[in-house]
Amino acid sequence: MLRFEPRAERSRLWTWASPLLALALTVVVGMILFAALGKDPVRGLQMFFWEPVKSSYALGELMVKATPLLIIALGLAVCFRSNVWNIGAEGQFVMGAIFASGVALMADPQSSRFIVLAVLLAGTAGGMLWSGLVALLRDRFHASEILVSLMLVYVAQMVLGYLVYGPWKDPAGYNFPQTKTFEAVTLVPRLMSGSRVSMGLLLALAGVGLLWVFLFKTRAGFAQQVGGLAPDAARYAGFSSRKALWTALLVSGGAAGLAGALEVAGPIGQLTPYVPAGYGFAAIIVAFVGRLHPVGMVFSAILLSMFYIGGELAQSRIGLPKSITGVFQGLLLFCLLACDTLVMYRLRWVRKQGAQ
């Protein structure tokens, strides 16, 4: 019979092969799903893996969606590496979008171009405020950060709803629940004409470098992670677990808030009830599939962005509901967790079985 045998140490090969195997499994299940729904599986796959990369315009759209995913995931990696379970990045993203919109709505066409900086900083502050609440409740009251951060997602969505249906509604907007479109000066500059890719992509890539340096080259980054790997060792070394908690939550909240700001002051250009697109949750998957490694997450962010675009194409071209994206996201994380067993264990064929 087949048995799992513990490895002496983590397999480096499987650390990186496991996400690929998980992706392969997800694709197989996806093809079966397409076939079961009476759609051509090959055409289905094309929507997800070929259409998003086949033209320079498509590639641009791929980057537009990968940018927020990557920025949020970079922050979450700090959290998960320090064993802080912030699963409410979606709420921090929404709060960032709201704060950024607050600044953007104050602008007029004569405003200085530098107002973009204020918009982005406000978004970051909004996200940090929301995750800071989680840190405060965890630090002072020992409340589970999992439940608090998740509950705050719903609260953030209500705040958004209140603003766009109430005080911030565009008076000239035919009663649609949305703000007026932002002044051009408040929008994040685009990288090139003919594509919606903005400077946000450069910020995300800078974030990759920053996180890499922080995690692997600074003492603070080391101290941050020891608490997650070995709490007792961290305490012995005098690394403050409270500081690690606050750092993790403020960094991830700030990143999610920045992503929210880039989104409203970028591709969307106004605050609407459709700002929350699930990026905050998808970024959790990006973080795990990218192995919490800054460079790994670049690839997983692009992959999850493909899932988003593939879902939209599957809806418009072959008549499948867009929510198929969520199915694939969940499947991918499931398969990954299962495949990760191979990092710690090896499969062995054992002829005769002993005790359990």
């Binding site: 009251f141 020992h142 409340a143 439940l147 209500m158 209140y162 969520g326 499931f334 967790l337």
Partner: protein
Amino acid sequence: METYALLMASTLNAGTVLALAALGLLINEKAGIVNLGAEGMMLCAAIAGFATVVHTGNDWLGFAAGMGAGAFMAAIFAALVIWLGTNQYATGLALSLFGVGFSAFAGIAYVQEKLPERSHFSIPVLGDLPWIGTAVFKQHPMVYVAMALALGLIWFLYRSRAGLVLRAVGESPESAHALGYPVRRIRLLAVVLGGALCGLSGAYISVIYTPLWVEGMVAGKGWIALALTTFATWRPARVLLGAYLFGGVTMLQFHLQGMGVDIPSQALTAMPYVATIVVLALISRNPTWIRINMPASLGKPFHPGS
């Protein structure tokens, strides 16, 4: 007076949704397993139950379908967590994310469907009593099932041998293993049972509580149910009480809206979530108290023989 009787009745109804799920999660956690997938299981059960009732017209088959869906998803979770030793938080989260996506995907064909009008339930004689009849005795049978379940769990956990074994597995899996109990199989059973109850709760939402299908209609009730087990310091009677309390908060929101109170509707809708955060902070304030009451192995993996 009659208004308050109706408010009381709707509180019990809303509390039942939370109670069924939270009691299921309590069984999981007594065995040492946290399943963050409650929200996802409830959503899939909600669409499974709803679709079954649309096709068969039988509510009880709908409940059964919901329980089946919940139990099936919980079994996958259990296989990963118990045998492959994956992280419980991450796996539960995966279950929730998958459930949210899958239910939206599977439910697309049922968005416009409506269920037939239900006849009203009333317990003979008791239902005709003034006030209390309206408040308590004209409920869907599932409301009483939830109450009976809480009582049954009290007996099971604290008076029966099997319940003692379950608690032992949650407190110290190593000791239970040393005594020869099949720790992993007991945990599997607890997780599947918990999933079935979450599924029942999900089906109750889409079949009785708000008889329709809307994407994401569970709206965080799975997460509130998870918080409830902590509020109740893992005791069934307190879980039931807490569920009614939060059912009350949910209903108060509609009540205030109906009275035309000048508060934005979003602030009222946010109430149950804010209340969850506040109560969670108050209860968790004393970490020693939580540690005494929490099953000692909660969230920790167990590998026999290691």
